[in-house]
Amino acid sequence: MNYNPFIIPFTTGAIILFAIIIYKFIAWYRKLDKKQRFYLRKNILTFKSIEAIKESFLEALIHRNIYKKNLLLGYMHMSLAFGWFLLIIFGKIEASLHAQTLFEEPWLAIFFRYFVRDEHKFFMSEIFPPLMDFLLLVILSGVLLAWLKRFSSSLLGMKKTTRHSKFDKIALASLWWIFPLRLLSESSTAALTGNGSFLTGTVGNLMAVLNLQYFEIYFWWAYSICLFAFFVSLPFSRYMHIPTEVVFIFLKKWGATAGEEYSGYTDFQLNACSRCGICIDVCQMNFAANIQNVQSVYFIRDTRYKHLKDETANNCLMCGRCVEACPVGLELTVIRQQLRNKKEIAGKHYYDYTKPQEADKKYDIVYFAGCMTHLTPSIIISMKKIFEEAGINYWFMDENKGTCCGRPMRQQGFIQQSKDLISINQKLINSSGAKTLVTSCPICYKSFKEEYVLDIEIKHHSEFINELIENNKIKIQNSQKSIVYHDPCELGRGSGIYEEPRNILAKVGNLKSSEFEKQNSLCCGGSLSNAIIELEDQIKIRNHALENLTACNPDILATACPLCKKTFVHGNKAKVMDIAEIIAENISLQNQSSKHKEKNKIKTKIEL
């Protein structure tokens, strides 16, 4: 048997590591909710598992998404992860070939060069030393980059880098030393026995000059101890993301999603975060308002280590920019919402004071303006004009006494209240018998789509108007004005509606692009999801966004959300208009009724 006492730290460490990981995974698995388990069982034996393997390979080893951000940063992650992975695989193959069994001592692969010192030949034995040396070199280059990143993060395209916890520090220090020590150990053995290749052989010769090869056994001890330190600290450090990310990818592929409540799936996600810090750089709280320690990475860290403060959980715009950027694909805003959950008073009914007025007759379309839209009456007036022009039999559901859609409550974690509001509105909507629900507010839109149970088509007014134009229900003329479109968070990233607004605007004006658009669009700062941020900081975020959006001096800054509109208007930079207003202004009144003509007359009168 190939044995030397220095294998003890490594072997113990490995056993502890596997025990803890398995214990944790089982604990989290048992906390998965019913739906998540259902998907797991349903899809485990399908093609989806193969996709998951592919995806784990691309993400956890190659780090494809980090490459997209920065080549060097991607290389750093890949050389460490994929390099090490191959080193283990080929090490295992080499050891198995040598021992001519699949069940050689588990540590043999790790300390192979120490135990197999002779020139003893076995199948393909000559290709392994150079291959292993090459892999080691790749990993060492990654380690070097990691060192550089600590000193200057901007080198790797990062503005901010994260701070470390105690376990992180142990794990990181040992990770930094594992591979240099492996190099020294193997090189010193190579100097003594000549089993090295181009890297270990050369370094071995250099070491021989200083007679360092006689410290061989100490280098191997140090290497083993470093591995021990890394293994034992790993489950408690950020590096827990390495095993967790793989499981997370499988669960995701099988169809699990984070629900309303904290579950085992949340645990998997919390631990799958590699604390890469990419989410800090994209967060406006950081770069526009200089508010630190609230970004997703900090939020995840604090939650994981159980010292989350409500300030951290609540001080977030839920804009979703970090979700878009996160290379692991974590549902960061959903998790935040889970953590905001407040204790409920069982059985209590909120809002029973509302006496909803159900529809008096049947309609084709229900229009729900939304609370905020009532502060931007031009949007409402424009929508009315568009409905009338298209000859639609619609019911303005919240014209007088609207009830909130419930999403603001939900985002602050008051789920029960939100459900109460939803049931009030649901009843009203159903009473109209309409087939389509149109809303002007992206927050309501997302809420209707995701949280309501409705047997009815839900459309944001930008989708609706787009259809009216395509079906020739209304005719518009081109004003030739230059327009920049701002994607509202909840409509763009939140609901994936990017094309319809652009489609419309391109028909009424000269649509220009801006630096931040579509998935990369900025939050206006007025987000309802952040109940902590004070006006001063909202203004910083707004002004930064306005600056970027109006860089090309457009005639109109268009948006599709009353909240964005109101926020931007106060910024006093450009003419801000909602899509509905722009359309209403450029509608060519074809089936113009006398009523309309009169309206227009009065309007020109005011302008005089």
Partner: protein, 114 residues
Amino acid sequence: MKNWGFKIPDSRTLDLDKEDLKLYNKIVEKVPSARRCIMCGMCSATCSAANHTNFNFRLVHHKFRMGMFESLASELDKCMLCGKCRMLCPRGVNTRAVIYNMRIILDNMYYKNI
């Protein structure tokens, strides 16, 4: 309900010799802008909940400030957190944060421990 060291005044007079207004500081700690309120009534005028019922955020806030806590907790439950008040407030008060911090103090709600 946790005892915050205040009691409900039983007389008709607001007796500031006896009342301790310090509980309000807990709100101000969390929401510095709360102190800026000039009681203009814009928030309560626009309020979505006030459309349906006699809920008055301005008044609740004022009463809390002056140590009159009676029945405020159930009043606060009427708010829908819709945010209209915050959008309009001319003094830039973070009204929603005031509301739910009052609610937390009065109802002793706290964040779920996981």
